[in-house]
Every structure is written in structure tokens, then in C-alpha cells.
């Protein structure tokens, strides 16, 4: 018996006015897997995320999720099916306290019925979720205005917003970028916990060392194409990958 992959991507392409940002990328993703996507700057990683979450319309190709084509659905419907993503550039609602930032994902039709909506029920759920990603409740960090929070907390907030949607597939777009080693070290356990809950995760990363510790499988992209795909220990040995990262000699 073969297991149907959770996400199947076949020959996905996108060009921006002649520039091929993503070309003919195909891969499958099984349930519970943690896939890392790496590649030099401008290799099309973020565009790939945008194509899956449909913030950008694909030029051609298919995205099939749970056996159902989703590449022609609008972005908000894709989220409702259970694909949540974070943004590389965090842009919270700066004037609101951190926990109020969580209200919008909690208002989403996907989880609206689960959290209750009377007399600040959502606020309570929001505080719980934030504690889960490391907003210490005793220190009242969650009540601070988002604009006053340091980058590390904003990234956690972004992660919490994705978790709040109770997704099956989480796409993390450069979650670790701009964070210190200690901060990364404190976020890694949260991701591992998500895996134990059975979530499928795609991580776009530049911090290879941290990524390789937790990823099951790595895809390497260069110039919009997938140049390698395999277990984390093997990919970096391939010549093409070395060339992409270190330049051809």
C-alpha cells in the first residue's frame, strides 16, 4: 500500500516579466515530514512559498494538497484547508498588544468555532498560544505593544499566528533569520514539539547548521530550479550543491 503524499508539487513555474523565478519544480511531501528548502539568495525559495500559499499566481504547474488541486484557489481558502505560513519580513499590527495580534488568526473560519468568541474567550486562547511559543506569562510580554517588542518575539508572534490556525502543513519562511544563536536554540524545541504533534513542516532557511539538525529531508534550489533533493546528510555532498554555494572552481 502506498501512502498518498500530503502535498504534491509538479512542474511549478513562475516568471516575473521574463525572469524565471521558479522553473519546473516538482516534489512530494509526506505527512509528518520536516522538509528544509535551502539555496543562495534569489534562488526562488520565497517565491516557491508564495506559489504554494497562492500569494503569487503560478505561471504553470500543479499544487495538489490531500489529493486536491489547490493552485487555482485564492490565498484565504488555502489557509482554510490547513496550510499556514509565516512571512520572512514580519509585519505585525504594531499598535496592538501582542495578544491582540492573535485575534485575527483566531477569527479565521478554520478555528473560529473551536475557540469560542464571548467575553474575551479569544484573548485567553491567544495568551495560551503565546505562552507556548515562549512569551513568558509572568513577565507580561504578551501584553506589550507589538511595536515595542524585539525581533525575537516578533518572530515568535509570527509563528504563534501560524500555529493558531491549527494547520496540518506549516511553512516557515526564514524564521531564524535575524535571530541570535540563543534565540534560535530556544525556538528549535517549539518546532520539534510541533513535529511530535504530527504537523508537516516546510522550512526555508539560511541557517544551515540549525536546519540540518532537525530536517528529515533537504531540497536545494538555485536559479529557480531544484538541483538536489535528499536526506540532509547526503545533499551537501553533491557537486552541484557545492558549486551553487561555493561557486564553480
Amino acid at each position: 500500500m502506498t501512502v498518498t503524499p500530503l502535498l504534491q508539487i509538479s512542474k511549478l513555474s513562475k516568471s516575473f516579466g521574463g525572469v524565471q523565478a521558479v522553473s519546473q519544480v516538482s516534489f512530494d511531501l509526506n505527512e509528518g515530514e520536516l522538509l528544509g528548502v535551502i539555496g543562495p539568495n534569489g534562488s526562488g525559495k520565497t517565491t516557491l512559498v508564495n506559489l504554494i500559499s497562492r500569494f503569487v499566481k503560478p505561471s504553470s504547474g500543479k499544487v495538489i494538497y490531500k489529493g486536491r488541486p489547490i493552485h487555482s484557489l485564492p490565498a484565504y481558502k488555502i489557509v482554510r484547508l490547513g496550510i499556514a505560513r509565516t512571512f520572512q519580513m514580519v509585519r505585525p499590527f504594531y499598535q496592538l498588544p501582542a495578544y491582540k495580534n492573535m485575534i485575527i488568526p483566531l477569527f479565521s473560519p478554520r478555528v473560529k468555532g473551536l475557540v469560542g468568541g464571548k467575553y474575551g474567550d479569544r484573548d485567553a486562547v491567544a495568551l495560551d498560544l503565546l505562552e507556548e511559543v515562549g512569551f513568558e506569562r509572568d513577565a507580561h510580554v504578551a501584553y506589550k505593544i507589538a511595536g515595542a517588542l524585539p525581533q525575537g518575539y516578533l518572530k515568535r508572534l509570527e509563528l504563534a499566528k501560524a500555529i493558531a490556525l491549527e494547520p496540518d502543513l506549516i511553512i516557515l519562511d526564514e524564521l531564524f533569520s535575524g535571530l541570535s544563536l540563543a534565540e534560535v536554540a530556544s525556538i528549535v524545541p517549539i518546532i520539534e514539539k510541533l513535529r511530535l504533534q504530527g504537523k508537516t513542516i516546510i522550512m526555508i532557511e539560511h541557517r544551515l547548521k540549525e536546519l540540518f539538525k532537525i530536517a528529515d529531508r533537504i531540497i536545494v534550489m538555485n536559479y529557480g530550479e531544484k538541483i538536489a533533493d535528499g536526506p540532509s546528510s547526503e545533499v551537501m555532498e553533491q557537486d552541484e550543491v557545492k558549486n551553487a554555494y561555493l561557486g564553480t572552481e
Binding site: Y76, F93, I104, P105, L106, F107
Partner: protein, 334 residues
């Protein structure tokens, strides 16, 4: 010696933010007087005024509603330059229902509010998919073009308009009806905007990608906001039709677009109470200035520019700050 102003929350505000406020009459009064005072004024003022100023109060309420409608849209990120569209739609809906079918004003008012809001929403539907300036542009030109359409096709009485509407039974009913609606709209929509639903609307204004990313269809929420705001404006229009017993092309006039914006900007954009406050100041002021005729609109224009550049927070936020905080001068540390 350099000094700077320090603003500190009043003790009573800090204390009364807790539930314990109900333990003290003083604190309850502090909390509730900003709400009760305007209601009390609306209730008693008509009794003290003569017929002329009673009519002015009707205008205050109507423009207050239009300003509230503008502010709901502005908080959702849609800057309307054509409140006259909503006003005129409501006015014509009520006029047509009453003139051709003889329906009583008490039925045409709510019906016209809903129908006017729905038609305006339908007309503006295509623009909702775009951000920013398109909405302003389309709202500005729609009422001005609709005037010419009515002029050209001679529908609904053409340039003559429709007259002979049934008036509301008495001035008292008119006044208390419109002020009832104004108060309900002010407090009701204020509450709506602070609820989770309102947070989503404000989120769309702030960062719509993030809202989409929460699985929320922003167009559907924009449509809801537009319909709510449109209905509020349409109610004001329908009401004026029955007061003037006439509906015609002037209902799409620029005045109905500009005065509400001026009111909201002067009162304080981003708060419905500010919009109402602005209408309460500007409408009587424009009555006083009636003598200078066309120059009034020049003043509105100038008001808009001065307030938006120099006092962007508006009067309401200023008053609110004075109420909740006190100030003192402290030395600047070197």
C-alpha cells in the same frame, strides 16, 4: 533649562480600568459621563431651541451619521470622497418608494437604508479588489456622474426631482428619531469596531496580507463594512427626503461628500465619537456662516488642509487625552 511635558494617566483612570470601578460612585461617574453627557444634551437641547435651530439639529444628526459612515470606511482602509453616493441612493430609494407606491415613511426609512446600502455596495464592488486610491477616485466620480445620468435620462423626475413626499408626523418625532439613530449608530458601531470583528476590519487597513494569511476573505469583510457604512449614509438620505418632502439631483451634491469628511477630520479620524463631535461643531458653524454663501466651502477646504497637516489627531483625541491624563513639566536630563 530645558523642560519637556510629561503625560501621566490620572489616578482615577488607572483605578477605574479595573472592575473595582463599580465600588465608587465617583469612578462610575468618571467612566460613564462621557457617554451620558452627549445623550443628555441630545435629549434636552431640542426642548430649548426654536424651530429654526431645531432644523439645524436635524442637519447636525444627518451629517453626524454621514461622518460616522465615512469613519467606518476609513478605519477599514477605504477613503471615500463620495458620501453623497450613499446619501443620494438612500434619498432616491425612499423618494421612489414613497412617491410611486405611497409607502409610509416608517417603512421606507429602514427599507431605503438597506436598499441604498446594497445598491452602493454593488456599484463599488469591483473597486474593492484594489487597494488605496482607486476607491477614493471612483467614489468621487460616481455621484457626480449619476447626477448627469438622471439629468440626461429624466428618470425619477429628472431635473425637477420628485416632490410631495409624506412628511414624518411632527418635528419631535423627526428630532428624536434621528438622534435615536445617531446615538445608536455611534455607540453600536463603536462597540462593533472594538470587537473582534472590528479588529479584523482595522487589520485590513493596517496589513491586509496578514489578514488574508489568517484564512480570512478580506473582500467579504470589506463588503460587509461597505454595506454597513452605505446603509448608515442611505438612512440619512432617506430621512432628509421625508424632512424636505422632496428628492432631486442636489442629493448627489458635493456638500454631502465634503462636510462629512471635514467633520471626521476636524473631530478626529479613527474614532466615531470624533466624527460626531466634528459634525456637532461644523454644521452649526456653517449655519452661522450662512451669510458668506459660497465661501463656506472654501472654509471647509481650508479646514481640511489645516487640520490634516497641523492637527492630524483631531479635536476628540485631544479632549480625550485631557480627560484621561494630566500633564506636568519636568526637566530634561542632560
Amino acid at each position: 533649562m530645558k523642560k519637556r511635558k510629561e503625560r501621566i494617566d490620572r489616578g482615577i483612570k488607572v483605578r477605574s480600568e479595573d472592575v473595582f470601578a463599580v465600588c465608587s460612585w465617583r469612578e462610575m461617574l468618571y467612566l460613564s459621563s462621557p457617554r451620558w453627557l452627549p445623550v443628555f444634551i441630545f435629549l434636552t437641547l431640542p426642548l430649548l431651541l426654536g424651530p429654526y435651530w431645531q432644523k439645524v439639529m436635524l442637519s447636525v444628526a444627518v451629517f453626524g451619521l454621514l461622518a460616522i459612515s465615512w469613519d467606518i470606511l476609513a478605519q477599514t482602509g477605504m477613503i471615500s470622497l463620495g458620501q453623497a453616493l450613499f446619501f443620494g441612493m438612500g434619498a432616491y430609494c425612499a423618494g421612489v418608494m414613497n412617491h410611486y407606491f405611497g409607502i409610509s415613511p416608517f417603512i421606507t426609512l429602514p427599507l431605503a437604508a438597506v436598499a441604498g446600502g446594497a445598491i452602493s455596495t454593488l456599484l463599488l464592488l469591483p473597486v474593492l479588489r484594489l487597494r488605496g486610491i482607486y476607491f477614493s477616485m471612483v467614489t468621487l466620480i460616481l455621484p457626480l456622474m449619476l447626477v448627469r445620468v438622471i439629468e440626461a435620462t429624466k428618470i425619477f423626475g429628472g431635473t425637477e426631482g420628485l416632490s410631495g413626499m409624506t412628511p414624518l408626523p411632527s418635528i419631535w418625532i423627526e428630532i428624536y428619531l434621528i438622534f435615536g439613530v445617531l446615538t445608536a449608530a455611534l455607540f453600536g458601531f463603536r462597540r462593533m469596531l472594538t470587537s473582534d470583528f472590528g479588529l479584523v476590519l482595522k487589520g485590513i487597513n493596517d496589513n491586509d496580507r496578514s489578514v488574508t494569511n489568517a484564512g480570512i476573505n478580506i473582500y467579504w469583510f470589506k463588503i460587509q463594512a461597505l454595506f454597513i457604512a452605505g446603509s448608515v449614509g442611505a438612512f440619512a438620505g432617506a430621512f432628509m427626503t421625508h424632512v424636505y418632502m422632496f428628492v432631486g439631483m442636489p442629493v448627489f451634491a458635493l456638500d454631502y461628500s465634503i462636510l462629512p469628511i471635514a467633520a471626521a477630520v476636524v473631530g478626529g479620524p479613527g474614532s466615531l465619537a470624533g466624527a460626531t463631535l466634528g459634525a456637532c461643531i461644523l454644521v452649526p458653524l456653517s449655519e452661522v456662516l450662512r451669510g458668506i454663501g459660497g465661501l463656506r466651502i472654501v472654509f471647509y477646504g481650508a479646514f481640511l488642509v489645516v487640520f490634516i497637516v497641523a492637527i492630524p489627531e483631531g479635536l476628540f483625541h485631544y479632549a480625550q487625552r485631557k480627560y484621561h491624563q494630566f500633564e506636568r513639566w519636568v526637566e530634561v536630563e542632560k
